[in-house]
């Protein structure tokens, strides 16, 4: 499944490829090298549950209670970088102001339903980490609405939510993913029965605080100093 062909632009020039071979060999990518884990799950828009998509999370731990993940639309080489998710422990979540809590979603249902999984990982190993993920909260923004067919990242960031109960997930999307990765959500659900969510239960302010949320762009007036300094464009 190639996405590259859908993005406008010329094939990479030979000189550019040579340059990037050099940079890849000489430069260090320390923050990227911390990424150790691939999680697959589903996201939907915080204002529209009917728009759902498969999200591939590539995650690094900042410590035992904070993970930061790059979200791609596929696990392939030409995947599009469509968003960011932060994952934090229940402990840290509870320190957030209520106004902030509603942007975060719980992971209990996603884990327990089997719909959050780690492609390529043996189930027994996967489940050790999922025990922990089950108790966490996540905050996701998508910047590229590939589900509506955008060939470029257009518009403003979108706050995303995750599954919290049965029948939210579009069965055709579910089937497609189960088939592609050779997993069975039902089977996994049974194996994860004993797992438990946040110690204090899913917080009522999480998951949008029980309602929908949407992002809006607002034009602002910058401080007077900035306004005064904006001059007709004369380059350099």
């Amino acid at each position: 499944m190639s996405t590259q062909s859908k993005i406008p632009g010329e094939a990479t020039h030979a000189s550019t490829a040579v340059f990037e071979t050099a940079t890849a060999a000489v430069q260090r990518f320390r923050p990227i090298n911390q990424i150790h884990q691939h999680l697959c799950a589903f996201h939907f828009y915080s204002h529209d549950m009917t728009r759902q998509l498969e999200a591939h999370h590539f995650c690094a731990h900042l410590n035992d209670e904070v993970r930061q993940c790059l979200i791609y639309d596929s696990p392939e080489k030409d995947a599009r970088l469509i968003g960011i998710e932060y994952i934090i422990s229940e402990n840290l979540f509870l320190t957030l102001p209520d106004e902030e809590k509603c942007f975060w979603h719980s992971h209990e249902y996603e884990v327990k339903s089997g719909t959050l999984f780690m492609p390529g990982m043996p189930g027994a190993i996967e489940r050790v980490d999922l025990e922990k993920v089950c108790k966490t909260y996540g905050k996701v923004f998508h910047f590229w609405q590939v589900d509506r067919g955008d060939i470029l990242p257009l518009g403003i960031p979108q706050l995303m939510m995750a599954l919290t109960r049965d029948e939210q997930l579009d069965p055709s999307l579910s089937l497609k993913v189960e088939k592609r990765y050779g997993v069975s959500f039902e089977e996994e659900r049974r194996k994860r029965e004993s797992m438990s969510g946040p110690e204090h239960g899913v917080h009522p302010m999480a998951n949008g605080g029980g309602g929908g949320l949407k992002t809006e762009l607002r034009e602002t007036e910058m401080a007077a100093a900035a306004a005064a300094a904006s001059i007709p464009r004369v380059f350099v």
């Binding site: 000189s15 320390r30 509603c102 990982m121 043996p122 910047f143 929908g212």
Partner: protein, 247 residues
Amino acid sequence: MATSEDQPAALRESGEERQPPGQKMGVGQHILDKGSSMLQSLKPVKQVSQHACSFALYGDDLSRQIETHHYISRLNQDFLQCAVYDSDAADAHLIGVEYIVSDQIFETLSTDEQKLWHSHAYEIKSGLMVHPRIPEMVAKPELENLAKSYGKFWCTWQVDRGDKLPMGAPALMMSPQATGAGVVKAELVQKRDDYYNISTDAIKGSRVEIEEPEWINPQADYWKQHDGKGFAIDIVRTDMKLRVPFP
């Protein structure tokens, strides 16, 4: 509700403590992580092939300026996608995503979309954007490409205001410019230069031959030609279109 301009009082860092709160990772987690990276292919992140260091300014307050580390992968000659961090260290915070497109692609965007993008010409010509450890001579052809490109950068973790966890809505970022509020503070540049043992001024001198774009679209760097107008993102309540109840 929240906006990207909010200054939440909670969760500020004190003193030099940069890292988010949370327990250290145990041995078990380290073993799990090691195992996952051996068993999982992680193909998309292995496409990262450039590290560029530069600076960015908040789109609604240009006086708030940050050093940025872009880890870049290419989807084709005209399109780059970047994971942006606040340093080049292993414990760097992932603070946002930037997309970079060529001028040809940029000109196909609607004017409303173009408002959200910034130009890169000055950042390149001034020496502010550098590829650490790469000799200028080697980087020159790519710098020529980048000088004509435009970027769209969303910052999701406002580490500079001391947020210990990512708070609020994403912020739109702008690029450094030659004049007025777009000028990057000298001390910020000096700190970067000291760290990499480079001189932005000397690099600027070596880039005089890099061709300047004949035209920069005035919708980009919107504040420059629109009386200092900036943009912020708000998150507001709305009804969710449902399949079944939520949550």
